[in-house]
């Protein structure tokens, strides 16, 4: 084989000698994915501590540690980091980068240097966002949604956050674009769209949402900047503008963004379930197409965030109906997964445990979502802890849990080592119990009328806040435990071999683990379905030197 573009170093600029610079300038998709993971999880723990700070403050009614203004800044910081920096780039940036090209038998993504630039744009966006902390009058206190007109009139430092959200959005758009082109152009010969692993389908659907929805929020934030600093009047009623228009434009992006987060997570689930059931996935086409239809329908439901904001009744009714429809393709996926497991000899390894745990938490998150789709119920529950619990069950209990599942699943692939299964399972149980204890009481508190984003509350809600607090302690312990287990696995784990899970998709058919630069020795010809098992063993086998089938 001929030497390719950047030979051994695979760097965007030059051929640096030091390993550090090789990482900083790398265009190798696996390294970029790992660097995203490092930055993201650092910020994740910052945001988790913000969440814990709020829990501490809410342990008892009245003021404990921080005043109301600081509390507002705390939940803004928590929300901005969790949404814009952690969960939106989330799975696509980490696993879409590090695993997706391997899954389709490509050597890299379509635009590797753009990928590199995107990572640094992302880092720059993070820095700009944090710079707001040291701005005059302190960090923004608007909440992560920047609702007008408050975000236009507050004297806290909103500008860096708006700019940062724009930069992070830009990075997200270009990453999505890169993945769409990669999936269209670089699939191994023979791999049709319906022979792709389902994670790739998730990334593909996500790419389109990133591409078509993110520009709308980008321009909305630009308009907000124009309004705040150049005095045009689009959202501020004092100048003739309409603040509800801001909410519309904001949610035109931010609701599809929810599906942008969950679709790749569902993709991870669709990888893990057949692998650990040692069975072909039930209804491959329906799982693949339901991703596409969630992306499509998800575009048309943003109005359900505005049921109490002032919208025509007919619009409310239409948005309510459309929102119900999203539950259909989601339900199809769940039944497909359950049907896959039916009658299978399930191997309860850690990734599978996480996936099964998510099936419980996400169903709770999803079904409570259906309840607040109903306009009447929503009027009662809007902006209460019920909603907070709902989206934490869906986002943390769905997206982030599946991200953790993916971390455990692809850990041996990316590091070549295996973590301690026993301890990883203990970490899972800690997380699962802590998570439910932390958020389930909020459903009840919210139903009884506890409003969100309040820093004080009536004494009757104290019990729920206290249960939540102890849940938070267990949950954070579990998180730390999990990362310690993974860290130990990475430093001192046993070599895992190339395919410890007996998985079938292409990323496990490599000659070494972690995968070498340039991935597969030779690009294979794909004339098989992604999950072919017979009697609990993978059907397709390769000679890893020539990448020819030997079964």
């Amino acid at each position: 084989m001929s030497k390719t573009y950047f030979d051994e170093t695979h760097c965007a600029i030059g051929h640096p000698k030091s390993t550090f610079m090789q990482w900083m300038l790398t265009i190798d998709h696996k390294r970029i994915g790992l660097m995203y993971a490092a930055v993201m999880f650092t910020f994740f723990f910052v945001a988790v501590s913000m969440g814990f700070l709020m829990r501490l403050e809410l342990f008892a009614p009245g003021q404990q540690f921080i005043d109301g203004h600081t509390f507002n800044q705390t939940f803004t910081l928590h929300g901005v980091i969790m949404i814009f920096i952690f969960i939106v780039p989330g799975i696509p940036a980490i696993f879409g980068n590090s695993v997706m090209p391997l899954m389709i038998g490509a050597k890299d993504v379509s635009f590797p240097r753009l990928n590199w630039a995107n990572f640094w744009l992302y880092v720059a966006g993070c820095i700009v966002a944090l710079s707001s902390l040291w701005g005059p009058n302190g960090f923004a206190d608007t909440g992560w949604t920047f609702y007008a007109p408050y975000s236009l009139t507050t004297n806290t430092t909103v500008l860096p956050l708006l700019i940062a959200a724009f930069m992070l959005g830009m990075s997200s758009i270009l990453t999505g674009l890169n993945f769409i082109v990669t999936i269209h152009r670089l699939r191994a010969p023979g791999m049709t769209f319906f022979k792709m692993p389902l994670f790739v389908w998730g990334i593909y659907a996500t790419g389109w949402i990133q591409l078509l929805a993110t520009p709308v929020v980008g321009i909305t934030l630009i308009l907000a900047i124009m309004e705040k600093y150049f005095g045009i009047g689009i959202f501020d009623p004092a100048k003739g503008g309409d603040p509800v228009l801001f909410e519309h434009l904001f949610w035109i992006y931010s609701h599809p963004a929810v599906y942008l987060m969950i679709l790749p997570a569902f993709g991870v689930m669709s990888e893990i379930i057949p692998t650990f059931s040692r069975k072909e996935i039930f209804g491959y086409r329906t799982v693949a197409l339901s991703s596409a239809s969630i992306a499509g329908i998800g575009y048309l439901v943003w109005g359900h965030h505005l049921f109490t904001s002032g919208m025509a009744d007919i619009a409310k009714t239409v948005f309510s109906f459309l929102t119900f429809f999203v539950a259909i393709p989601t339900g199809i996926k769940f039944y497909d997964w359950v049907a896959t497991m039916y009658g299978a000899k399930i191997v309860l390894s850690t990734p599978m445990l996480w996936a099964l745990g998510t099936m419980i938490t996400f169903v709770i998150g999803g079904l409570t979502g259906v309840t607040i789709t109903m306009i009447g119920v929503d009027i009662h529950l809007q902006d209460t802890y019920y909603t907070v619990a709902h989206f934490h069950y869906a986002m943390l209990g769905g997206v982030v849990f599946l991200m953790f599942a993916g971390m455990h699943y692809w850990f041996p692939l990316l590091t070549g080592k295996m973590y301690n299964e026993k301890h990883a399972k203990i970490a899972f149980y800690l997380n699962f119990v802590g998570f439910n204890m932390l958020w389930f009481p909020m459903f009840i508190a919210g139903y009884l009328g506890m409003p969100r984003r309040y820093f004080d509350y009536l004494p009757e809600f104290q019990i729920y806040h206290q249960i939540s607090f102890f849940g938070a302690v267990i949950f954070i312990t579990g998180l730390i435990y999990m990362f310690v287990v993974l860290y130990k696995g990475w430093r001192h784990g046993e070599p895992s071999g190339t395919n410890p899970w007996h998985a079938t998709t292409l990323e496990w058919h490599l000659q070494s683990s972690p995968p070498p630069l340039e991935n597969h020795t030779k690009v294979p010809y794909v004339d098989f379905n992604p999950y072919e098992y017979k009697h609990g063993e993978p059907v397709v086998k390769f000679d890893y030197d020539t990448m020819k089938r030997i079964d």
């Binding site: 050597k107 152009r185 670089l186 023979g190 078509l212 520009p215 321009i219 100048k239 003739g240 434009l249």
Partner: protein, 233 residues
Amino acid sequence: MSHEYIPEIATDRDGNEYEVQGWQDDFYGGKLGFWLFMFTEVMMFGAMFLALTYYKTLHPEDFLAASHHLNRLLGGTNTVILLISALTMGLGLLKMRAGDVKGAKLMIWATIILAALFLSIKGVEWREEYEGGIFLNYGKLLPGSDFPFGEKIFYGLYFTMTGLHGVHIIIGIGLMLWLLKRINAGKVTTDHHIFYWNIALYWDIVHLIWVFVFPYFYMIGGGYVVGGAVHGH
């Protein structure tokens, strides 16, 4: 490019050979990527057109009155200039594909000059408006003025959208200068002109957006008469 990329061959079980598409030298991939990027531009300006349309239904009279005051002669001239620049850009690409590198460079220079002309005329217009007391954070657009709400929003969006469009023109000029540099360095050639192709596509979107901006801002108030019936058209 300085290196030769040789595509790999994958072989199926019957020994048939298939050429593997790598990320290097992927003309169609480059084109697809840029088309997708243009979608995002359309969505971005689309959101602003949405806001514009919404406020026009709220304040139809104010919008017509404000639009009436814009300079249709300069705006129209600019439209013609931009359309011609799109033509020169397209001709340049045709010349490049036909192997006429010198002609292509000439056409790029013509496009750059037309773009600069567009910006200058735009500047004259903004200056006129500034002298009439209408500008961002200035005069009639300040919160305290008794300028009607609809006109404030109209001008606010006018400055935002033509401004953002102007930024795209400036970026376009930068891209064209970079393109000239790459042609001179022999990196964009008759056989390898994806970079040129994409910049031409970019320029098409930039002029296309203007084709929508122009009627929406300048022409809706063309026949408007203050305080009376519309006549004379």
